[in-house]
């Protein structure tokens, strides 16, 4: 059924979330909050070198230390074959994943795990790590993406031959893959152009910086049964990858989803779980592991840093006729940066006849990148949206008018071949034009920037069950970890379909043994795909409720209707019966055929793409180079906001992560290839005093493929901020800042250079 034009009672309201009280009282159980009887503490030894051959690892002294129960290295893991898996970011190779969690033969970045211990206390485990003797043959390293592509750069993998070029290269290199997208005739396009703008941009790797470090508690039983308690963006993912990396049967692994303290894509793959299981197997006791913040920075995935060039050609009237982009993305130590989506997203907002995009996936001696909100798109869009802004200046056009003129509409065909369907970009641009912020006069010395952004959003596999309790209250279970309020939205959709108050519905996240397979919480898919499963399960329950009422009244099922949480006879012909509410039917469910419940699994297709536009005002302190965000407005098509507060929260949080990416966050390396700022003091995430209120404007263009019209929300908002801010800085001081982060020293240097 479709409720898009229905009168909604619950969906669109703002109830308190069901897991809220636990979270404001400190009772919510996150990954690191559990213990097991007889538990040991696991710790990981990490490489101090950016690139080295492991000559030998001597663990004997560590093993001999009192209180140490197990020491493991890659020798304790099966040497698995190369096999592609699809992780949050894109295809990842299981052999790489295995080598990433425990180095085999070589360490490829500072922080690369190469041994682990389990001991009675964290302190003893630390001592044991210090007793592991590793002999390294240190190799030359390469950090920067452009350097890694040069001839003669240190090669990380001698079996890496660039994919996507014909003929296949005979020499190994750090370029894992080349991707191209072409539309029309790029040369003809530029020949036709009257105004051409071209520039180069760089971005730094930034970490998802979820406040909860990775942690898990694993137990390997004598009979081979494994339980894992861990926070992740997908406990089915944890089960699958752990099984794969250790050669175990999935049926022998049960993963309990802990509350997750943020992920943003960074918890769509695993680091600790197989290590903890292997330690537990060896020690014969449960093992708890938790990363320190330093481990998180050095050993888990940031997103790619990149170097990008953009060339745009337009007619004098502002029609963009040619667009070219070259993107070089750092993948970290193993192949698999978000280069594909990076190549697709930059120009996805514009209807351009001639497009040419070339992307490189490049390895270097850095931690393997992990997905981060709209992987690839923010980097690509930063470059494109800065270029579009400068093109507008060159044309003497208003930047919003230029975007309106070239914006995609339904039916526009992108350069990657997909035609946009059911999009709300036009409405987003109209809301931008109409917003008071866009019209507000600018204070002296301030600058205003605008940028737009796009993300696909995905659907995929989800399972949900709805159970009617004996007293008429309702249980909903799904397989989607709740990373930002999905229990609330799932409960609300169920309540809407059943016609009961949301307070009568409780939602849980079920473990891997208790519900059908559910893909990751990622790609902005949960409200869409899991929401679809939940809605369908609730509808099946309604069918049963009607049947039970029909039985009670002894009339045909089609003579019963479900209205406002009650079964009523359909018209006067059906008979005159007092309505039966959910509680009344539930009380008799035993007598009318047994428990009432439904489970639905879907592979949801048709996730509507999302578009956003951000307006940002800045003030630049010319003495210090510090950029202050004075006002910020984020406008986005959200389809339908199920719980508007959490939708706004996603947009505000995404925008602020983008502000950090723009102004202050970066991995800083020394000449040994070691990260110099692996802590929150020097890796500077935005704090409350850095920011104004972030106004989130919800545009609702329903996605017809979702029962309530929802589309993914969480990723789009990180796409526009970097360019919006760079454009605002240009407005304020007349200088283009093409390199992220636009930190005070860089801004100051640019001001000085300009005289």
């Amino acid at each position: 059924m479709n409720y898009i034009n229905s009168d909604l009672k619950v969906v669109g309201t703002r109830p308190v979330r069901p897991d809220g009280v636990d979270k404001v009282t400190g009772r919510a159980v996150f990954s690191a909050d559990t213990r097991a009887s007889g538990m040991l503490w696991g710790k990981i030894l990490r490489s101090p070198h950016a690139h080295a051959r492991i000559v030998s690892i001597d663990t004997s002294k560590a093993e001999a230390l009192k209180g140490v129960y197990a020491v493991i290295t890659s020798a304790d893991f099966p040497n698995i074959a190369s096999e592609e898996a699809f992780v949050g970011e894109g295809p990842m190779n299981f052999r790489d994943l295995s080598c990433n969690i425990m180095a085999r033969g070589k360490v490829l970045y500072e922080g690369h795990a190469l041994a682990a211990v389990a001991a009675v206390t964290p302190a003893v485990a630390e001592q044991a790590l210090a007793l592991i003797a590793v002999q390294y043959d240190v190799l030359p390293h390469v950090i920067d993406v452009d350097d890694a592509m040069k001839d003669g750069a240190p090669v990380l993998h001698d079996d890496m031959f660039t994919a996507g070029v014909n003929p296949k290269p005979t020499k190994a290199s750090n370029i894992a893959k080349v991707v191209t997208f072409k539309k029309g005739d790029i040369d003809a396009g530029f020949a036709e152009a009257e105004v051409i703008f071209e520039d180069s941009y760089t971005t730094k790797p930034v970490h998802q910086a979820y406040i909860e470090p990775h942690a898990c508690l694993a137990n390997y039983n004598a009979d081979g049964q494994v339980t894992i308690h861990a926070s992740s963006q997908g406990h089915f993912m944890v089960r699958a990858y752990t099984a794969k990396l250790l050669g175990l049967d999935m049926a022998n692994i049960r993963v309990n989803p802990a509350e997750i303290g943020g992920g943003f894509g960074g918890k769509t793959l695993i680091y600790l779980e197989p290590v903890a299981v292997a330690l537990s197997r060896k020690a014969g006791k449960p093992v708890k592991m938790q990363m320190s913040r330093e481990d998180v920075f050095r050993g888990s995935g940031p997103t790619s840093g990149a170097s990008v060039t953009v060339k745009l050609g337009a007619k004098k009237d502002g029609t963009i006729v040619a667009a070219q982009q070259v993107l070089k993305f750092q993948a970290g130590a193993f192949a698999g940066s978000p280069i594909g989506p990076g190549c697709m997203c930059g120009f996805a907002m514009y209807d351009i006849p001639n497009v040419d995009v070339l992307g490189y996936d490049v390895v270097s001696n850095r931690p393997k990148v992990a997905a981060y909100r709209a992987p690839g798109a923010p980097i690509s869009s930063f470059a494109v949206e800065c270029a579009v802004d400068d093109l507008a200046r060159k044309l003497g056009m208003d930047p919003l008018v230029l975007r309106e003129k070239n914006a995609v509409v339904n039916g526009s065909k992108t350069h990657y071949g997909v035609s946009h369907t059911n999009i709300g970009f036009t409405q987003v641009l109209a809301a931008t034009r109409a917003h008071p912020h866009w019209k507000a006069p600018l204070a002296e010395g301030h600058g205003r920037g605008l940028a737009v952004g796009f993300w696909f959003n995905i659907g995929g596999e989800s399972s949900a069950t709805v159970h009617i309790n004996e007293d008429g209250t309702v249980m909903v279970a799904t397989g989607s970890p709740d990373i930002g309020g999905s229990r609330a939205s799932m409960g609300m959709m169920t309540a809407e379909v059943l016609g009961v108050p949301v307070s009568k519905v409780r939602t849980i996240v079920a473990d891997t043994a208790s519900i059908g397979f559910t893909f990751l919480t990622g790609g902005s898919r949960v409200t869409f795909a899991t929401g679809m499963a939940v809605t369908q399960a609730a509808e099946k329950v309604v069918e049963q409720l009607k049947a039970r009422a029909a039985q009670t009244w002894d009339i045909p099922v089609d003579a019963v209707e479900w209205q406002d949480g009650k079964a009523v006879p359909a018209g006067t012909n059906a008979g005159a019966f007092e309505p039966l509410d959910l509680a009344a039917i539930a009380a008799k469910q035993g007598r009318t055929g047994g428990p009432i419940n439904a489970e639905v699994s879907v592979n949801a297709q048709g996730a509507g793409a999302g578009f956003g536009a951000h307006i940002c005002d800045v003030a630049v302190d010319k003495e210090t180079g510090k950029v202050e965000i004075v006002r910020y407005t984020a406008i986005q098509d959200v389809g339908k906001a199920i719980h508007p507060s959490y939708v706004e929260g996603q947009i505000q949080g995404g925008a602020v992560q983008g502000i950090g990416w723009a102004l202050s966050e970066e991995y800083i390396y020394n000449d040994k290839g070691q990260m110099d700022n692996p802590g929150f003091l020097d890796y500077r995430c935005p704090v409350a005093s850095d920011l104004p209120m972030i106004e989130a404007v919800l545009v609702e263009v329903p996605n017809p493929r979702h029962p309530f019209g929802a589309r993914g929300v969480g990723e789009v908002p990180i796409v526009p901020p970097m360019a919006a801010i760079s454009n605002a800085i240009k407005g304020a001081i007349g200088l283009r800042m093409p390199d992220l982060p636009m930190s005070p020293p860089k801004v100051r240097a640019a001001i000085d250079a300009a005289g």
Binding site: V24, A32, E212, R293, G649, L681, S689
Partner: protein
């Protein structure tokens, strides 16, 4: 290594524990006392997830030793609500949806309590600077600040 015996008050109740001299108060709370509401986000005083009150003063428990609790009065997130009566700060965090993942929330609530105990009528700027030691990666702080300002108004008796 012999352990130290510490006598203290935690959330209004007399408490005793044994800890190693180098153990932080955060580790003591989480691993010895069993109060896991205070979180470790960094263990270096940079994220505020471990915030507690020591004799009413806001402290990062990861920067304090367990032995320093001797004779002090400690308040953790578990001590903010009165029984099943949520504190107005907690209530306003819920109403304003000022949490997404909720991992920073205990620290933010404790820090807000310290702010409002000291300054019942903060400006938005004062609240933002006071809470600058509490990282939240999910919310962008907008709803957090709204919740804090609203809780302050409730505690002053201006609204409900």
């Amino acid at each position: 290594m012999s352990k130290s015996h510490v006598t203290t008050t935690i959330n209004g109740e007399a408490a005793e524990f044994l800890c190693e001299t180098q153990q932080t108060m955060l580790d003591v709370l989480r691993d010895v006392v069993g109060l896991t509401g205070s979180k470790e986000g960094c263990a270096s005083g940079d994220c505020g997830a471990c915030s507690i009150l020591v004799d009413g003063t806001l402290v990062c428990s990861c920067l304090m030793l367990g032995v320093e609790a001797e004779g002090k009065s400690i308040t953790t997130i578990e001590g903010i609500a009165q029984g099943d009566q949520l504190h107005p700060i907690q209530q306003k965090f819920l109403e304003h949806a000022a949490l997404q993942c909720g991992f920073c929330t205990p620290g933010l609530i404790v820090a807000t309590k310290a702010l409002l105990d000291e300054n019942p009528n903060p400006t938005e700027i004062e609240a933002r600077y006071w809470l600058a030691g509490n990282l939240c990666r999910c919310t962008g702080y907008d709803k957090v600040i709204r919740a804090v300002m609203d809780a302050a108004a409730v505690m002053r008796g201006e609204t409900v």
